[in-house]
Amino acid sequence: MQTENYIIEINQITKVFGEKTVLDDISLKIKRGEFVTILGPSGCGKTTLLRLIAGFHAPTAGNISINGEDITLVPPHKRPVNTVFQRYALFPHLNVYDNIAFGLKLKKLTKQQIDRKIKASLRMVGMIDYEDRDVDSLSGGQQQRVAIARAIVNEPEMLLLDEPLAALDLKMRKDMQLELKEMHKNLGITFVYVTHDQEEALILSDTVVVMSEGKIQQIGSPTDIYNEPINAFVANFIGDSNLFDGLMLRDKQVRFCGVDFECVDEGFGEGVPVDVVVRPEDLYIFPTSDAAQLTGTVQSCLFKGVHYEMTVLYNDYEILVQDYHPYQPGQEVGLIIKPADIHIMRKERMANVFAGKIVDDRHVEFLGRTFECPAISGVEAGTTVRVEVPFNGITLQANEEDGTLVGEVQSILYKGDHYHLNVLSDWDEQVYVDTNDVWDNGDRVGIRVVGEKIKILTP
């Protein structure tokens, strides 16, 4: 049977806190012995998912089974998993030895057994002479090691790690990454690792689960995720990327930046808007010549240790290029993109669609407000309709009072010549906006809707 390969199966989990849906219909299967990373920006629900597996939350809907056994309602102390907490949570009233012994003592092992296991686990994390130390006297990295030892000493079938390296400095983090990978190999147990650090995820994992806004965006191997991102969010979140709005002209032919390119993707249909991703290292840059597909001017050039990172301005598009050879700002350069390096992704949405209600022949209500719109005919007041507003039909105001309603910028995608923003309105609906203005995540903005651009889709 196939299921025997999976240590954990998460089926259609939904978790709601108060009014907020933190996890929305999540399904995930994890193979025995795998190193799985749950990757996503803060607030995407990744930690909540981990806590559901550990048993600290009960899902609002759905179920979780470990080894084929439904454990959805099993309390945390009866689950065959152990957790390494983000802030370590080492018991301050116990020393290193007793912290690690905590789980073993509960299992009523003999003193000798406990002692042997603790010694082994301390050796594993390289903390052999620290047994008698007070946990408060340890550095962050040492506390982290003790936290890991405290978890693995119980020989769990699955180790959950909640951003375990987030509090460490860069050098320390790199070392620990290697050690974790090594530990995973030696222990042979399943690791489920939560992080917001995409590089960490790519380095460590067998499988990466990319999450955003409570949903799984993509599951795949690090190379899959990097090379074949499924949508603009994943492409932008993993690694550096150039993201453009494109138009699929026909199979193997795409237009973006106002230029037609040959590509390798098929089956999107003709004249379909798509998202296009080109990795900066996949662009060929050279002194301008007839061979160039795009000819632009270098705007900036930064030395990044191994390569140079340059921005090239082509018409209004900023294109990020990485190359071993520097081109100085002001220099005219040519760019070529190979068909195989153009990644085409279906757009998740073409425009904002809201549920609305007709107020009168010139007004429609949606997002909890009434908006003036182009004349409506033949629809009675009070009719519920779908309202479509294009991304450029919404403007954002720095002053919250200047908008019809208020929202908070949640994520930003740079599309070469404009930004695509995701704004959570105070009406609790997402509003997607194309803008040339620069905003930051978390900015509070006034949201205005351009009346002429509102389109009423009669039911």
């Binding site: 600290f56 102390h77 998993v81 152990n82 957790t83 907490f85 905590f102």
Partner: protein, 266 residues
Amino acid sequence: MNRKLSVLLFSRKAWVFPYVAFAALFIVLPLLLIVGFAFTDETGAFTFENFSNFFAQSEAIHIFVYSIGIAIVTTVFCILLGYPAAWILSQSDMNRSQTLVMLFILPMWVNILVRTLATVALFDFLRIPLGEGALIFGMVYNFIPFMIYPIYNTLQKMDKGYIEAAQDLGAAPWQVFLKVVLPLSLPGIVSGIMMVFMPTISTFAIAEILTLNNIKLFGTTIQENINNSMWNYGAALSLIMLLFIGITSIFNSDDKEHSNEGGGLW
């Protein structure tokens, strides 16, 4: 105004002066007086007689020991009743716990004598005879907020991560409590003990009212001696009590150095 004077007046140090003066006048001086009276006789000559009197009188020692016993019993009851209350408070959500804490603190707004007299009225109404039981009831009733509050404070500040870590490592709820919550709330309990134990040793009003003066506590003895103008003997008894409290608090502060969060009113 000359410059030196203005510097003196407006420098931060100058602000301390009223407090120092107050402390000297109402704390240090009385203490010195107590010591002075304790080691002198009525004529003002130096003597150890007051102390030897105390240790010679089995009744006085008996009262002293009995007072400590009552204080211990009161403190134990306060812990047993106060800890669950503090736990419930710390677990309930913010608004509700604020109200509950308020309800626990509210009786403190009423004067202790009024409360104690009301207790007498209540016991009369219920036809329960006054005496030792009433005394302990009255003491616990009066001092339990001082136990609840520091424990509530430590429990509330406690990182819930520790509880989760313990659960994660396989501890059932009662094991989580015994192995993590209780040891981590020890500083709060210690503060609570200080807050309850020390004042209960020296109470006399509650004992007088709730036992119709049938049971004498050490505080009562001191008060009687002072009232009867036996200042020297009274001062000696006060000094003995002070030393005893001082020893217990030194014993406690040892513990507190390790736990950075005392978390109490102390």
